[in-house]
């Protein structure tokens, strides 16, 4: 099976869907001529031309609103945000329009849009460029949010997102763009709303999404080798819809849960997961649910500190041992 990067996986997804459906249009800042700020869309302009791959001015509210309007007539725009941190200038369009139009029209209209881009800290770019808004977005009914952690999931989820008839927001990660993994050549999707057990175990369940999955897998290795603990890692992959059953089945098996996220603590995704576990697996819990989030402050600039602000394997191991006590 081919081994490609997360970035290449995203590109392959877009290429395949551009071929498959003539309504698909890629839009965003620097996606065409510049070949993408992070080179995700590299080569697509050459292959598909300027009608399908569209450079936009720096005008998120404008072009995202435009994409939403066009989607009401059947265009399927895949709009790139250079950083999800830039979504806030277009928040009204993203949440009020894309998220509500179907409901407010009593089901007469739907908006088959995709907004994708990196939603991550850890790149030394400071507070305004390091947001992870998946929890904020997922709190709006009408919106779907997915977070792929691996190249396989990135391609599968982006394809599923493009084919989905509702607004789907894809949270990527610049640090993961270079990660390599096995990705099939042939057409496949990762269904939205299905989590994945990235590592099987019996003593502790770690639930994570995005890059926190990779961090948790590293921590799991340490826990096994140095502490003899068998850790199961559940990769949510999809925030909304949420695969509650996989989370619960794992906790019922191991009886101890640790939640790891790069969100800040207050109402991060794991706040919802914690509620779910204690509500539906209460009698299976052998310890309080543990949680590792980013340290609660705007993203610090100093790189060494930022690395500690985000969940890192040592902090995850420490938290895991506390849950296992």
């Amino acid at each position: 099976m081919p081994v490609i990067s997360y970035r290449e996986a995203l590109r392959a997804a877009m290429r395949e869907e551009l071929k498959r459906d003539e309504n698909v249009v890629i839009m965003g800042e620097e996606v065409a001529q510049f070949n993408g700020a992070y080179k995700v869309t590299e080569g697509l302009l050459k292959e598909f031309g300027p009608k399908r791959i569209v450079d936009t001015p720096i005008s998120e509210a404008g072009f995202i609103g435009l994409g939403i309007g066009a989607s009401m007539l059947g265009i399927r725009p895949v709009m790139e945000l250079m950083f999800w941190s830039f979504s806030y200038v277009a928040f009204d369009q993203i949440v009020n329009n894309a998220g509500n139009i179907r409901y407010m029209s009593g089901g007469l209209i739907h908006c088959p849009i995709v907004i994708r881009g990196p939603a991550n800290g850890g790149t030394n770019v400071g507070a305004t460029h390091s947001h992870t808004p998946e929890a904020i977005l997922a709190s709006h009914p009408g919106i779907k949010v997915v977070c792929p952690a691996t190249p396989y999931d990135a391609k599968g989820l982006l394809k599923a997102a493009i084919r989905d008839n509702d607004p789907v927001y894809v949270m990527e990660n610049t640090i993961l763009y270079n990660d390599k993994g096995e990705v099939p050549d042939e057409d496949y999707i990762v269904p939205i709303g299905v989590a994945d057990i990235k590592r099987e175990g019996s003593d502790l369940t770690i639930v994570a999404h995005g890059r926190a999955v990779i961090t948790s897998l590293k921590a799991a290795e340490i826990l096994e080798k140095e502490h003899g603990v068998s850790v199961e890692v559940v990769d949510l992959r999809s925030i909304r819809p949420l695969d509650e059953e996989t989370i619960l089945a794992s906790v019922r098996k191991t009886h101890r849960a640790l939640l790891v996220e790069e969100n800040k603590p207050f109402c991060g995704v794991d706040a919802q997961v914690a509620y779910l576990i204690q509500a539906r697996a209460f009698d299976d819990l052998d310890a309080p649910i543990g949680r590792v989030s980013s340290i609660d402050a705007p993203q610090i600039y100093c790189k060494r500190m930022e690395d500690l602000q985000l969940p890192h394997p040592a902090r995850v191991v420490e938290a895991a041992l506390k849950v296992l006590a």
Binding site: H255, D283, L285, A287, A325
Partner: protein
């Protein structure tokens, strides 16, 4: 048709309005948009403009009146028309049916209780509260374990899953050591009397253990002893058994000493019924019937089948029943009904040569009779001569809450009399 004009809702937070001033009079013709009145709301004084052209038929709310939104203030219709009665509001606007809040909206905000809800651990004061994880509580309930008796190895002394596992199963090699580990001293010569083994406690043994602990620690035992002359009893037994054998051959019923004891006990209880009772906390239950339990030793423990209504059964009947029950006990076919409901228990170690002993009360009985072996010994007869006697020591352990020394002694006295003149049993 006349239209009723109500106090209008002029802002979305308005609930009452004051009609400050009327701009029109009864009888006046008004057009759409004409200002009818000034209304003071919670926010400002607003003008009420006419939305129904026509003639003012009647004004119901005089200037200065404060009315809730929806109350009629005037009526507009065709000139000469009768003004409607404000009390009988003509066809009140057909209110949209207020949705009956359904019993279940199908949107529960708390999860349904899981199928097996754990029995609540009776929490005492906070200081003595038993901390246990939900999982541990569930496991303990399933194993019928009292959590309060376990010690927790979790943080802050919390009882966790592994503590329950350790308390209910073989301390497996992987399970962490429980606080009480049995110290094993190995023989220095390497050859022991048996192998060091950990024999898992069977359900029966566990149950016995539980019940004995409960009895020994909660019932105030006291002990009385009596020595009876067993010669008459043994003589009678021999003669009866011989007669039965002559009549029935090999298969003939054989009375045991225990059968006599059972029958005698039932009779003695008839004479001293105070011992046939049970402690019930705020009362003492006197039992009308005598249901006798007797001990049967099995390979892995002891069972106590019950002869029901022994007070109304003959010696033969009791013997037959006892035999059957022993057979069932040995083949593990006793039903729970056959093992419960006793009012008095007899236990016999005579066959092992035990000279005398005192058993542990079989709750909720008030006493237990412990029968020793019949021993040939030198005794003093009525003529103060030393003769050879057959003596049997019988012990009575009594629940002092129910039985006093006097009652207990009376019972033993009665029993002694019966056993030493056993012809009465046959009657």
């Amino acid at each position: 048709m006349a239209e009723m004009i109500d106090m209008p809702k002029l802002s979305d937070t308005m609930s009452v309005g004051t009609l400050v001033k009327w701009n029109i009079k009864e009888g006046q013709t008004v057009a759409f948009g004409d200002i009818l009145a000034e209304v003071e709301t919670d926010k400002a004084t607003m003008e009420l403009s006419c939305t129904v052209p026509g003639t003012i038929l009647k004004i119901y709310a005089p200037a200065g009146s404060q009315l809730p939104v929806g109350d009629p203030i005037c009526a507009i219709g065709k000139k000469g028309e009768e003004a409607p009665d404000p009390k009988a509001k003509s066809t009140p606007p057909k209110a949209s049916p207020t949705p009956a809040i359904p019993e279940s909206t199908g949107i529960p905000c708390i999860p349904e209780a899981p199928a097996s809800s754990p029995a609540p651990v009776t929490a005492k004061s906070d200081a003595t509260r038993t901390k246990a994880s939900p999982y541990a509580k569930r496991m303990a309930e399933k194993a019928a374990l009292n959590l309060a008796k376990l010690s927790g190895t979790g943080p802050e002394g919390r009882i966790v899953g592994r503590d329950v596992v350790a308390a209910t199963s073989i301390p497996a090699a992987t399970a962490p050591a429980t606080p009480l580990s049995v110290a094993v001293a190995k023989p220095s010569d390497g050859k022991g009397i048996q192998d060091d083994t950990d024999v898992p406690v069977s359900n029966m043994r566990a149950t016995i253990a539980r019940r004995l602990i409960e009895s020994k620690t909660t019932v105030p035992h006291f002990y009385l002893e009596v020595e009876i002359d067993a010669a008459p009893l043994l003589a009678m037994r021999e003669s009866i058994n011989k007669r039965l054998a002559d009549a029935g051959g090999e298969k003939a019923l054989k009375l045991s000493v225990n059968d006599f004891i059972l029958k005698a006990s039932a009779e003695a209880l008839r004479q001293v019924p105070a011992v046939n009772a049970s402690w019930a906390g705020t009362s003492i239950r006197q039992h009308s019937a005598v249901h006798l339990a007797f001990g049967v030793a099995l390979e892995d423990g002891l069972v106590t089948p019950v002869v029901r209504d022994a007070h109304s059964k003959s010696l033969k009947e009791i013997a037959l029943e006892a035999k059957a029950l022993i057979g069932k006990a040995r083949s593990k076919k006793l039903t729970p009904a056959e093992m419960s409901g006793s009012t008095f228990t007899v236990t016999n170690l005579g066959m092992y040569g035990v000279s005398g002993f005192f058993g542990i009360i079989n709750m909720p009985n008030a006493a237990i009779l412990s029968v020793g072996a019949t021993i040939k010994k030198a005794v003093v007869d009525e003529q103060d001569r030393i003769v050879i006697g057959q003596r049997m020591v019988i012990g009575l352990s009594g629940d002092h809450r129910v039985v006093d020394g006097a009652n207990g002694a009376q019972f033993l006295q009665a029993l002694k009399q019966i056993l030493e003149a056993p012809t009465s049993i046959i009657l």
